[in-house]
Symmetry: C2
Subunit: 332 residues, 2 copies
């Protein structure tokens, strides 16, 4: 074990006081250039490493933030993580992973971590927020999700508008029988996407048969099941707008299992542009959500909050249609 060298040691070595060392090293107070240099050299020579906990205890900042998601194994969050991590790193923050498994009690635990100073703030992607914790909420930014009326700053995309883009695309291809597989009812993001679907259809004067909107849960299984239901309809759709890519994979699979050719016999468009949407066959046409960027922005906003600045307006990032191989003009 290398004898842990502390500020005192380097003070002794440099022939100054501990406080001067502290000032020199944190570049905080005023210190003569010459002494600063001397101190830095001594620190280097002794291979000094500041003690994090001691510093935190004094400054009351943990220099770490929390990223809280509902299911850490959901690949959707990956690139958001990446963006958060990159920006956090630049600001010398560490990132703690929080996994709630949808359990409100666990969500509260994470708020307690910021209350107790274990984290300086948090990026929330669970889509929900507990009661209370008013003080902690000043250090929270919501990413990816919508939490209406929470008063929290959001970093996200315009889900309704983007869903509209997807539908427009299908419409422009000449589709008239367009169905939608949505996310869970009542969930903000899901509702927005559904709203975008409905409004765009209505604006175009299109009819939406009752059975053409099926409620899924963002997972493969529901994509599988609901596609079967849709294709079994007396008048099946010629195109499906799916609320996320994972369910869209399910559509692709079921359609192909039934021998339907994609895109000529069935067009499908997903949402999110997760990594694997280019890996499937045919490569999935989808809406790109700039997840790395969302992560970066969310972290930037959080840093501002931590610095005590007022929360800015919600940040809305742009999406774009990624036209790959699962959409085309309908055959009939």
């Amino acid at each position: 074990m290398t004898a842990n060298v502390k500020i005192k040691d380097i003070a002794k070595a440099a022939g100054v006081s501990a406080s001067t060392v502290s000032r020199a090293l944190t570049a905080n107070g005023f210190v003569a250039a010459a002494t600063a240099e001397k101190i830095r050299k001594a620190a280097e020579a002794l291979n000094y490493r500041p003690n994090f906990q001691a510093r935190s205890l004094r400054t009351k900042r943990s220099m770490s933030i929390l990223v809280v998601v509902r299911d850490i194994a959901n690949p959707f969050y990956l690139e958001v993580f990446k963006g958060v991590e990159a920006t956090a790193r630049e600001a010398r923050y560490s990132v703690l992973m929080g996994n709630t498994e949808g359990d409100p009690a666990r969500e509260e635990e994470y708020f307690e971590m910021v209350r107790d100073g274990q984290a300086d703030g948090m990026i929330l992607m669970t889509g929900m927020v507990p009661e209370g914790y008013e003080d902690q909420k000043k250090k929270v930014v919501v990413a990816t999700q919508m939490i209406p009326d929470s008063g929290l700053p959001h970093v996200l995309i315009d889900n309704a508008k983007s869903a509209g883009m997807a539908v427009e695309h299908l419409l422009s291809l000449g589709h008239t029988r367009i169905a939608h597989i949505s996310g869970p009812e009542g969930e903000g993001m899901s509702e927005e996407r559904k709203k975008g679907f409905i409004q765009t259809m209505e604006n175009a004067g299109m009819d939406i048969p009752a059975d053409y909107i099926q409620e899924g849960d963002y997972h493969l299984g529901s994509g599988l099941k609901l596609t079967a239901r849709l294709l079994d309809l007396p008048v099946p759709p010629s195109a499906i707008f799916v609320a996320n890519d994972e369910m869209a994979f399910g559509v692709l699979r079921v359609a192909q299992e039934r021998g339907l050719h994609i895109p000529s016999e069935l067009s499908v468009i997903g949402f999110d542009n997760i990594h694997f949407s280019q890996a499937v066959f045919p490569p999935l046409t989808t809406i790109n959500q700039p997840r790395v960027e969302i992560g970066k922005c969310a972290m930037k906003s959080l840093l501002q909050l931590i610095a005590g600045e007022q929360p800015g307006n919600d940040v809305v990032l742009q999406t774009e249609l990624v036209h790959r191989a699962t959409t085309a003009a309908p055959q009939n």
Copy 2:
């Protein structure tokens, strides 16, 4: 801001000394049941929350560990994270994310974090390890990867044997022209899988034409490219054993783009059983690697290390063949 209540306050409230409170609350030393109860009540009443940094400063334990990967956006790690997180949580540890982007300097930074007490240990999944940091290495467990001669405890699967299982499967189906798309040369895991492929083929008396082993990089792009190369061979393979699922998706895509029917015209088997291997069409036959379990085991081992116990033997977990729809007897 709730006035932060500290041990002193609850000591006053309970009419005892601070040290007694500390003992009672941490259940460390001896304290009369009655006083302990009284103290607990007072703490409850005052809504006491121990200060993490102060405790850490004293105990020299941060109660957080580091999970370090090469690319945080790689979905392979997700379920490992999940396992780590679950076990860490039970032991009241937090999990910090580390992302090296393959940069050795960044890898070192994470070792410095454990040296500097920011983390009590680390789970390493980058497949490499820096020079030095001998003390810190006592708090490291390698998961998922092989770092030969590192002397570090590993939690992983038997890659060679599992690759053998995959090849056996193809062999038992009657394939003779079996190719392999490997991972990067020199990388431990990749070499093991390739070794398993070669040995099993040789044991079965099968010939491996030179072109039948193509070196990939675990990513989709190389799967795409190398499949094309393989299929363009004068005598193309009837089956491909792919070193991971993502590249296998590439095989599926290219084969289908060329109008090859899977599995009748080409069998493919992947490795890892990532979530999306059941989402593609046809659902991918693959080798399941128990990643959640690996995460849990790795964290358990790390907890032992942190507790000062000697590192045990490497933990080798079992894999299994997941027979889905991309393998069948060869057509000719």
